[in-house]
Every structure is written in C-alpha cells, then in structure tokens.
C-alpha cells in the first residue's frame, strides 16, 4: 500500500475511532468503497476534463478547529447566519451529527465523502411555511499545514408548499493546501420552492469537490445561482431530478477563472416526469491562465412528454492563456418535447467598447462595464443586493476597474 493510501487509512482510523458502532460500520463500508475505486480519472466520461487520480500529493488529516474572529466581513445583512469554521459549527443552530448523505455519485469520491462526512447545514421547513429571511450558510477554512481537509454534508428538506432561500458561501483564507468535499441533498415536496445561491470563493490552494443532489417534486421549483470565483481545483456536480409532474428548475451559473484555477462544473437535469421545465443560463469569463469546463446535460426520459428545456451557455475569453471547454448535452428519449441549447465563446463587442469610449469612458472601464453587462443576466437572479454588488465588484476588479455599482440600485 502506498504512503498516500496509508495516510488515508490513518486519517480515517483517527476520525472514526470514537464513533458509535452503527455509524462506524456504515462509514467503514463507504471508506472501503473509496479505497476500492480510488479517485476518479479521465477514463470516466464525466471526468473527461478533470483528473483527481493523482490527488492528494501529501498525507491527509482533518482540519483542526481554528480560532477566527474575522468572518464578519462575509456576513450578509438581513440573513439568518449559520457559520462553519474548518467544518465546525460556530454560529447558528445545526445538528451535531451528520446523517450520511446518500449520493447518487461516482463511487470512489462519494465513498470518501460519506466516510468522513461532517454535519453541515440541516434545514427542515414545515408544510406551507415560507422562511422570512434567507439562510446564510457560511463555511470558512484556514490551513496552517498542507493537506488539511473538511467534508461537510448539508441537507435541505422543504415540505409541501414550503419556501426558502439559502445562500451557501464557501470561502477560504490564504494559507496551506487543503482539500474538501461537500455534499448537499435537497428534497422538495409538492409545490415547495427553494432558491439556492452558492458562492465559491475558496483559497488559491484549495481542491474541492461538491455534489448537490436535488429531487424536485410535483409542481415544485428549484432555482440555483452558482458563482465560482476562487479555488485551485474545483469540481462541482449538480444533479437535479424532476421527479414530479410539472416540476421546474432554473440553473444559472457564473464563473470568473483566473490564477491558474481548474474549474469544472457539471450540471445535469433529469426530466423523469412529464410537463417539466428546465432553463439554464451560464456565463463564463476566462481572465488569464486557467481552465474552465462547463458540462450541461439534459436527459429526457421516456414518458417525460411535454418537457420544455432550454440551455444557454456564453463565455467570454478576456485574456491569453485562458481555456474554456463547454459541452451542452441533450439526451432525449421522448418525442413530444421542446429542447434547445446554445453555446458560444467569444469576445467583447468592439462596437460597444467604442460606443462607451465616445461617451468618455476609458477603455479599461468600458470593458469592465460590458463584462458586467455580460454577466448581469446571471447576477440579476441574486435577490440579495449586497451580495450581488460584492460579486460584481470582485469580478470587474479583475479587469482593473472600479465601477460605481451604487448607481445601479439608487433608482430601482
């Protein structure tokens, strides 16, 4: 057994040692699954562009609790705050134990996650209840030594007719290399409505895998806005199953890739029941040496008639050295459906840049404004103005511009 395998084994033994027997057995089984299959590599079509097989390069250990007072800067006004620091809940209610997430995923890495799963957000909303304030689940990591890891498992369950907005924000402080897996399982009963906003702004030394499994019941609706701003190697798997008739989903995504990040988003919508609708809007920005992958897959199962599905991917190449790979897939086994997708990759429109410059706006700022315009169709889906502005500012700052975003809100 290699050193790496040995260090995984040791890490698991340390972690699982004190657990109750039942939990221990389930986690051991999951761990064995991981050891058996290993990390995914590009022989798996879904991992065509991302290979984790060489990971990790150093021995592994769970991140230890850290003392940190400075997370106020990420807090959001008007939200119900829940905060995890190095995977330990430090603010807001959360259950102390994690039920093992049942992930519909690639055996190896899912096994790893299940073996180490730590309790994250556990949100249950009762029938007909609409949460008045968004839940802000903030995870912050620090790392003093290379190879520290966290494995948060989140669960959201909305009963019939319930409604909620959840903002999941993953941030990391600069520091040593770290590895994290994260899962989010979402159950939406009949007519439930969930808006999930996820902002990933991990440290430049973070490798992260996230899997989100969503079941959307009859006439229920799942709305996602995913924003990727940071990280070193980021892989997000989003799987949305429209299991009830009339279920609908809207997935929107935005990424800003720079600083040698490798970013791979895999979105999959599975139309199982008839009369489902799915809409996807993705905007990507390639800023510098980086590789971004966007795979959007729509499956329409036999019998999922009257499905209405649309997918739009648009990417902007803003600098040399950027690579953007897009793969919008359709897999259709029913005939009475309306499905379309489009993907484009290009640059800012020179005429538009010129237009702005004739109004006296310098080129840098003009490009930033147009880039903002380009991503706005995703940003505008973020209902929290403060968060929206913060993201816009962070993205346009990459173009060397400081735009006055306050001017947006003052009349609306």
């Amino acid at each position: 057994m290699s050193d790496i395998h040995a260090s995984w084994g040791e890490a698991f033994a340390r972690f699982a040692g004190g657990l109750p027997a039942v939990d221990h057995a389930a986690r051991s089984a999951a761990f064995d699954e991981f050891i058996q299959h290993g990390m995914p590599d590009d022989a798996i079509e879904r991992w065509h562009y991302t290979d984790l097989s060489a990971f990790p390069k150093k021995p592994v250990q769970l991140a230890t609790a850290a003392a940190l007072g400075g997370y106020a800067r990420w807090q959001l006004s008007g939200c119900d705050e829940r905060i995890w620091l190095n995977a330990r809940n430090v603010a807001g209610a959360s259950s102390a134990t994690a039920s093992l997430p049942s992930l519909d995923a690639h055996a190896g890495i899912a096994g790893l996650h299940r073996a180490f799963a730590q309790p994250g957000l556990q949100l249950d909303v009762g029938p007909g209840t609409a949460l008045a304030r968004p839940v802000h689940a903030l995870t912050v990591t620090t790392a003093d030594a290379d190879g520290e890891m966290t494995h948060l498992a989140h669960r959201i369950s909305l009963a019939r007719g319930a409604a909620a907005t959840v903002i999941l924000q993953n941030v990391g402080l600069p520091g040593a290399t770290r590895f994290s897996t994260q899962s989010l399982t979402v159950e939406l009963a009949e007519q439930a409505q969930l808006t999930l906003i996820r902002v990933q702004d991990e440290s430049r030394s973070t490798t992260q895998w996230l899997q989100t499994d969503v079941n959307v019941g009859r006439d229920a609706r799942f709305q996602l806005v995913n924003v990727d701003l940071g990280g070193k190697l980021i892989r997000n798997d989003w799987r949305v199953k429209l299991t009830g008739p009339g279920a609908s989903t809207e997935l929107a995504g935005l990424f800003a890739a720079d600083a040698r990040v490798h970013l791979d988003n895999q979105y999959e919508i599975d139309h199982i029941a008839p009369h489902g609708t799915s809409h996807q809007y993705f905007r990507g920005l390639g800023f510098g040496p980086s590789k971004a992958v966007l795979n959007g897959r729509v499956v329409v199962r036999p019998g999922a008639q009257k499905t209405d599905s649309e997918q739009r991917i648009a990417n902007l190449m803003l600098a040399k050295g950027a690579e953007i790979d897009a793969k919008p897939e359709l897999e259709i086994y029913a005939d009475d459906v309306k499905c379309a997708h489009g993907a484009s990759c290009g640059q800012l429109d020179d005429t538009a840049v010129f237009y702005l410059r004739t109004r006296g706006v310098p080129e840098t700022q003009a490009r930033a404004l147009l880039t903002y315009s380009f991503i706005n169709s995703v940003l505008e889906r973020i209902a929290h103005a403060g968060l929206r502005t913060r993201i816009a500012r962070q993205v346009t700052a990459l173009l060397g511009a400081d735009l006055d975003f306050d001017a947006i809100g003052d009349l609306s």
């Binding site: 538009a352 702005l356 109004r359 310098p362 404004l369 315009s373 991503i375 706005n376 006055d404």
Partner: protein, 250 residues
Amino acid sequence: MTKLLEIENLHARIGDNEILKGLDLSVGAGEIHAIMGPNGAGKSTLSKVLAGAEDYVVTSGTIRYQGQDIAEQSAEQRAAHGIFMGFQYPVEIPGVSNMMFLKAAVNAQRKERGEPEMAANDFLAWVRHRVKQMKMDPAMLSRGVNQGFSGGEKKRNEILQMLVLEPKLMVLDETDSGLDIDALKIVSDGINAMRSPERATILVTHYQRLLDYVQPDFVHVLAAGRIVKSGGPELARELEEKGYGWLQAA
C-alpha cells in the same frame, strides 16, 4: 479666429477600402452644418473618424479641433474634450442601467479634464431635468442602456446623453432616421436646446426632413469621399427636389 473644427484633405480607409478621399470641412462655433449625400458616400465614416474609431485609418490630412490636431487622441479623450457622436445604430448594453452609464461617462470625462466628480444628488437632479426635457419616463434610467428600446427610443436616448454630457461639438449620424414625427420634434428640440455661440453641430442625414426643425447655417453634399458642393439651407431643398444625381453628373 480659430475655427472649432477644421478638416483638411482628409483621407481615411477601412481595411483596403479608401472611403474619404480628400475631404475639407470647416465648422465655426455657433454654427450648424448639415452633411447630406447618397448612401455609401462616406457620411458615417466621417462621423466615426471624428469620434476616433480605431478600425478607420487616417492615411493623410488633418483634423484640428479647438486648434489642436487630434490624430493621437483616443475616443474617450475626444469625448472628454467635448466631441459627441450620436450613433446611427446605438448599442444595447443589457444590465448596465442608463443611470450607471451616464454617471460613469460624466465622471470619467470630469476626471480627464481634472474636475472633481459631481455630488450624487446634484447629478441625479441634473439627469432627471434632462429626462424631463426629452419627455422620457424617468423609469428608463434604471433600465439597461438601450435594452429593449425601439429604434425611436434609442435615438431619443442619444440626445438625452448629449444633453447630460453637454459637449461642444456634436456629430449626429442619421439621428433622424427611424423617428416618427413626434419623436422627430422632441429630438429636434433637444438639438436646438444645445444651440449656443460656443457649440457647433454637424447633422449627418440622408433626408431634408430634420432640417425643417433644425435650421442649418450650411449644407454640404458629400459624394465619393469629398465635399462636392456647399451652400445654405436652400441647397437642402434643392437636393430634396432633384436628388443627388444632378450633382454627380455635373
């Protein structure tokens, strides 16, 4: 006395295609000039070259604005020094509100001129005043620039921007096309409101219609890249009656 704008023997091309072939034009402060001519004569090229479009290459000749050769000035520098171009086809910028756009433009221009930024309240009041003047719905300020605007609304927005930015030399490229009669009146009022002894306007147009509302001091005919005839307002009416054929034949 120095003219506001002086163009001498201007040659310009796009790609391998020479469009302006020795154009001369002199515009004094306080004047309104109309430039008319058949399609493809180089009218739009002249506007773009004045505004500083980089895909057009000036191969010879000079453009002096306020006595200075502006060949080396970027589009935004020209804007800051008071050159405004009204686009024939204004660009849509979804998601960037008109308010944000105007603020970015005004403050960038002031910065270039070494002036302080306008206070937010003063700016808002100023813009609202101009919106009212153009008989536009103030709600448009929070909509994206030209986003979903009709052709007429876009042209009106061009004039609004002009009123807010208060340029010295206004080059309006076919601002009248696509306007119904009410909109044409509002746009004309906007142009007339900017008329002053310090400012000048160049109206680039295909039709005489706009000139019924905005009285030009001079009318020029641009054909095959040069000014081939100049005259007073009566020339426009002559062109309306006879077309351009008689000029080219001559």
